[in-house]
């Protein structure tokens, strides 16, 4: 994966496959602690203890189409290579929370990448999902919530091309400037 926004898209696809209706994504940049934290939380079906224990093992997957699962393993690798770590908290029927920590200034820390594209692609393929995106750094905070969009669009599907175009432009103006 070239950047962290692609990892986020990948983990969010896991959430969707786990039947999540609500997904929360947060990117917290704390330069005083030299820490970048990414959280992806869902209300999908969750995992049992055995699955959690194996979740970053590439040769463990619940899928039947093939025998390797690399998504979380890749994200853990990306975090570890900056001296950070990956944590997965999950409870059956309640949901899953993935927390990846990176040393913000580490030379191997991947760039955040295009968050606007990631969010738009999640919504384009899965209009029924409620998505909250939150980001914070020392200078600013930003929250995007699809519930705010749906209040305005009402009966119009969020994946109508005009709505997606707006969301992309809105996010590009408000998001990508904060994270490099």
């Amino acid at each position: 994966m070239e950047d962290l926004s692609l990892h986020i898209l990948d983990i969010a696809e896991n959430s969707i496959n786990a039947g999540a209706k609500n997904i929360e994504i947060a990117i917290i940049e704390d330069s005083s602690k030299d820490l970048l934290t990414i959280e992806i939380k869902d209300d999908g079906k969750g995992m049992d203890a055995d699955t959690i224990a194996n979740v970053t093992n590439p040769f463990f997957t619940t899928r039947t189409t093939r025998r390797v699962g690399l998504g979380l393993a890749f994200l853990e690798e990306a975090a570890n290579s900056t001296g950070g770590k990956l944590r997965v908290e999950s409870e059956l029927t309640t949901g899953t929370k993935v927390i990846a920590e990176f040393q913000l200034s580490h030379i191997d820390r991947k760039p955040v990448g295009n968050i606007a594209d990631t969010i738009v692609m999640i919504l384009a393929g899965n209009p029924e999902i409620n998505l909250r995106y939150y980001q914070e750094n020392n200078a600013s905070k930003f929250l995007f919530d699809t519930n705010d969009v749906k209040k305005i669009t009402n009966e119009i599907k969020i994946n109508s091309i005009e709505i997606l175009k707006f969301i992309r432009q809105y996010l590009e103006e408000n998001v990508n400037k904060i994270n490099k």
Partner: protein, 127 residues
């Protein structure tokens, strides 16, 4: 120039609403972009973005675009499946923006599948 606010969506929603009455329902064409880890790493997001861009350029309303997971052929990603009306689904492999454009022009708009980019006709079944 001031930044867009979420309230600015109101005008756009109003426009869409006005146009909706003349829209065709259903969805004649369904495009599924494979968004597994392998797909994403190979460029599925760019492919999906290219399809959305084509839908926008051609201003067509009867195309459904959605995502799926890994189809088990990771080395051929990015992949997408195009289903045109009642025709059999066609799976395209090793996609990029140029291929998307051609697939859109020939298959999505005209119903003629692009053989040179296709893996197979049909659809995988998960038991």
């Amino acid at each position: 120039m001031t930044k867009l606010k979420i309230e600015d969506l109101d005008k756009i929603a109003e426009d869409v609403r006005r146009k909706m009455t003349i829209r065709e329902g259903g969805g004649k064409v369904k495009i599924t972009v494979h968004m597994g880890t392998c797909g994403i790493a190979a460029g599925a997001r760019t492919v999906m973005s290219a399809f959305l861009n084509e839908i926008d350029i051609h201003n067509i309303k009867d195309v459904i675009i959605t995502t799926s997971g890994c189809a088990g052929l990771c080395s051929k990603e990015p992949m997408a499946t195009v289903e045109y009306g009642e025709q059999a689904p066609v799976k395209y492999i090793e996609l990029n923006e140029t291929k998307v454009k051609k697939i859109f022009d020939d298959h999505v708009l005209k119903g003629k599948f692009v053989q040179e980019y296709a893996l197979a006709i049909g659809s995988e079944r998960i038991q």
